[in-house]
Symmetry: C2
Subunit: 421 residues, 2 copies
C-alpha cells in the first residue's frame, strides 16, 4: 500500500529515496521557528485541523472550493481539512479576545492541506509558521511582525544576499483604484490583475485593466514611482532602528491574492533567478469582524511561511546543518550473567535523563561496539564481576579517556563527563 500522492512520510533521518522527508529536518525548522517567535514574545496556539466548510468560504468565497479537502461528515456537516490557519485564529479570537490584553502576539505551526491539481512534485500538504499580532492598528505592529519575519529567516543563516522583503500597501492600491473607477465592487478584481501582473504577458494585463477603465501606463508609473505611504514610512523607520531596513524594499508589484487584506502587505522573496516567494502576509483588519458576524472588531495582521519552499532554499544555499542522532550512553553486555545488573544500570542512567541504549538480546562484543558507535554514543559502559564485586569500565568516546567506576558512581561520573562538553 502506498501513501497518497502529494503527502510526505517523515522518517527520522533523511532516506536515500528522494521523495522521503526527514523528521530531523522538520524538527530543526520547527525549533528555529519557535525560538525566534518566542524571542519576539509570541505565544504558541493551535486549533483543529478540521473546521466547518463555511469558515473558509465566508472568508475566501466559493473560489477556494476547488482547492479544498472538503466533505460531509457522518453528522451531515459540511467540513474541510484546513487549507490555512487565519480563519481558525479569527474564530478563536472572536470567541475569546476579551480574555487577553492587547496587543495579542500569537504563532502556530499548523499542517495545511490543499488539493492542488496533480503536478509532479507538487505537494498537497505543508507546515507553516503562522505569526499574527491582534488588537493594534498602529504600523509599529506591522514593523514588529516584519522584523520577526526577517529574523526568522536570518536564524537559518540566510542573509540580505539571499532574500528581500517586498513591501507594499493595499491602501495605496485601493486609493489608486478609487480615483479611476467609481465601482468599489470591482476593486478585488483589480487587485487580482495586479497580483498576476508579474506572471502574465503585458498584453493580457493591459486588456484586463482596460475593461476596468484603468490605463496600464498609469499602473506602470505608479509601480515605478514606489513612493512609500506614511504607514510604510513608519515601518521603514522602525526597521531602520533595528538595522533591518536593508532587508526590505517598497515594491508595489506586491498586492497579495487573498481577498481579506486591508493595509500593508508584504512578501519575502528568495533573491536570484527563481525569485520564489518564501513567505507572505499583511493586515486583515476586517476578518475577525466578518467571522464573528460583526460582534468583535479587532485589527490584525499576520504572515505565513511554509516549510517546503524554505527547506528547498536552505538546501540550495547549503544551510542545512548536519543533523545526526546521538545518544549519551551505551551499556555493553558481554556476559549474559550480568544482564540483570546491566539493565539496572541502564535504568539508573535513563532515570538521570541520559539517553541510554543496550543490546536487547545476546550479541557479540564487537557488534555491540559497532552499534554504539553508529548511534553516536558519548560514553560506553561495560561491567564485569570480579571477586563477587561489580566493576564498570567507562570509556569517553569523544575524549578517549577510560576509567573504572563502581556501579553506584556511574551516574555521577557520566554527569560530570557530559556536563564538561
Amino acid at each position: 500500500m502506498e501513501r497518497l500522492p502529494g503527502f510526505r512520510d517523515f522518517y527520522p533521518e533523511p532516506l536515500p529515496a528522494k521523495d522521503a522527508a526527514s523528521f530531523d529536518l522538520r524538527n530543526y525548522i520547527f525549533s528555529k521557528w519557535r525560538e525566534t517567535a518566542r524571542n519576539y514574545g509570541f505565544r504558541e496556539y493551535d486549533g483543529p485541523p478540521l473546521e466547518a466548510l463555511e469558515l473558509y468560504t465566508t472568508k475566501s468565497g466559493a473560489e477556494i472550493l476547488g482547492q479544498l479537502y472538503n466533505f460531509v461528515d457522518k453528522g451531515e456537516r459540511a467540513v474541510a481539512i484546513r487549507p490555512e490557519m487565519t480563519p481558525t485564529l479569527a474564530r478563536m479570537m472572536a470567541a475569546a479576545e476579551r480574555s487577553y490584553k492587547k496587543p495579542i502576539k500569537w504563532f502556530a505551526l499548523p499542517q495545511l492541506f490543499r488539493y492542488e491539481r496533480q503536478q509532479k512534485g507538487r505537494l498537497r500538504e505543508h507546515f507553516q509558521l503562522n505569526a499574527d499580532i491582534l488588537g493594534e492598528s498602529d504600523p509599529a505592529a506591522d514593523a514588529e511582525l516584519i522584523a520577526l519575519l526577517i529574523d526568522t529567516l536570518r536564524s537559518f543563516g540566510l542573509t540580505e544576499n539571499d532574500f528581500v522583503i517586498r513591501l507594499s500597501s493595499r491602501n495605496a492600491w485601493q486609493d489608486f483604484f478609487a480615483e479611476r473607477n467609481s465601482d468599489p465592487g470591482k476593486a478585488y478584481e483589480f487587485f487580482q490583475v495586479i497580483d498576476k501582473m508579474e506572471r502574465e504577458k503585458p498584453e493580457v494585463t493591459g486588456e484586463k485593466l482596460r475593461t476596468l477603465g484603468i490605463n496600464s501606463e498609469e499602473v506602470k508609473t505608479f509601480v515605478a514611482g514606489g513612493a512609500p505611504t506614511p504607514e510604510l514610512q513608519t515601518v521603514l523607520r522602525h526597521l531602520a532602528s533595528r538595522k533591518l531596513d536593508s532587508f526590505v524594499r517598497v515594491d508595489y508589484n506586491i498586492i497579495r491574492g487573498l481577498a481579506y487584506y486591508t493595509g500593508i502587505v508584504f512578501e519575502a522573496f528568495a533573491k536570484g533567478s527563481s525569485m520564489r516567494a518564501i513567505a507572505g502576509g499583511g493586515r486583515y483588519n476586517n476578518l475577525v469582524k466578518l467571522i464573528s458576524a460583526n460582534k468583535v472588531d479587532l485589527p490584525a495582521l499576520g504572515f505565513g511561511m511554509g516549510d517546503v519552499v524554505l527547506a528547498d532554499l536552505l538546501l540550495e544555499k547549503k544551510l542545512i546543518p548536519k543533523l545526526s542522532a546521538a545518544i549519551d550512553a551505551f551499556v555493553i553486555i558481554e556476559d549474559e550473567a550480568l544482564r540483570d545488573d546491566s539493565l539496572a544500570l541502564v535504568q539508573r542512567l535513563r532515570e538521570a535523563n541520559f539517553s541510554t541504549e543496550y543490546a536487547l538480546t545476546p550479541s557479540k562484543s564487537d557488534k555491540q561496539f559497532k552499534r554504539a558507535s553508529e548511534m553516536n554514543a558519548s560514553v560506553l559502559l561495560r561491567c564485569t564481576r570480579a571477586e563477587g564485586r561489580l566493576a564498570c569500565a567507562l570509556r569517553d568516546l569523544r575524549g578517549g579517556s577510560q576509567q573504572e567506576v563502581t556501579p553506584e558512581a556511574v551516574v555521577d561520573t557520566v554527569k560530570s563527563l557530559l556536563r564538561n562538553r
Copy 2:
C-alpha cells in the same frame, strides 16, 4: 462561527471556559513524552494525517468504517483521516525497513480522529504517544517497551499508587481457545467476548461463550489462575532488574480489542474506582506483512497513550505544574524620543536569544511596568539620555537589584544575570 463538536482549540494558556484546551498543557505533556522516549533511545517520526481508506480497512476490517472520517477526494480516491498510527508505521516500514538496523525503536505524537457518536464531552480527536519496537521477536523487546510505558507515566509524577500495568498474552488465550474450539476462524470472536467481559453482565458473556462451545467456569478459572507464560516470565524478570516489577501484574482479563495483536498485550490502568485505561498495546507480528502484501516480515510491538485521559488523571492527582509564560526582558520606553534607541536595544537582546518585549505604541510608564510584570519579565530596562549620552537602568525583577549600564553592556549584563539563575 463555531468549532466542530468534539474538537479542541488550544489557547496558549488555560481559559476560564471549561471546554477550551491549553497549548501550554499540551506542550508540557509532549515534552515529557519526548524526553522519556529519547532517554530510551527512541527516534521520532511522523506520517500523513490522511491515508488511503484501505490502509485501515485491511487491518481492522469494515467494522472500523462507522468510526472513520472517510470520504472520496477530488481525485476519486477513497481516503480517511487517520484514526490510529500503527497502519501508517507499518506502511512506512514495509517501504523502508531495509535501510535500518534492527531493532528499530521509533515514536510519534500524532493527532488521531474518530467519529464517535455524539456523547457529551466525548472528543473526536486526541493526541497520542505511539512508541514501537520493530525487528525483534524476543520478549526482551516487550520488557523494554513496557518499561518505557511505566517511566513515561512516572515522568509526570505518577506512582505505583496511581496506576498499574495489566499484563496478558494473546498467545495464552489463543492456546486456551484452540484446545476447546477447532475453528480458528472463530478465535477473534472469542477474543472480543473476553475483551468485553469486564464491562458486560456475566450472563451475557456466558451466553456468548456457550455459542462458541466454551465453558465460562473454565474462563474464570483461567483468569483467576493467571499463570504467566514463559514469555511473560521473561518480561517480569527484565522489569524486576529495573526495579519496575511493582508496576505490573499478570491479568488475563486483558486481551485488547484490535484484531491484529499476536503475543503479549497490556494496558495501563488508573488505580481507584474508575479504573480507566490510560494506555494500551502489544505485539502485532503479522501487521507489516499484511500491509506489504507478504513482502516484508517484521515482528513488531507498540503502545499508544492518549493526551486527554492522561491530562484528566494528572488534574485529578494535582500533578499539573503551574505553567506560566515568562519573558526575559522588558524594555520600558518613557520618552518617545528614545524609541529608536530602545528598539535597537530590543533587537540586540532578541539577537542574543533573550525573549524581549516593549510597548508597540506610546503608553504611560506605570502601564508599561504593569505589562512587564504581567508578562513575568526577569529584567526591566529603561534608557535615558543625559548630556547626549544614552544610559540604561537595568532592574532585576527577581533578585531586586538595580544597576546602570551602557547600551553596549546591556546584553552581557543580562546574560550574566540570567545565567546565574
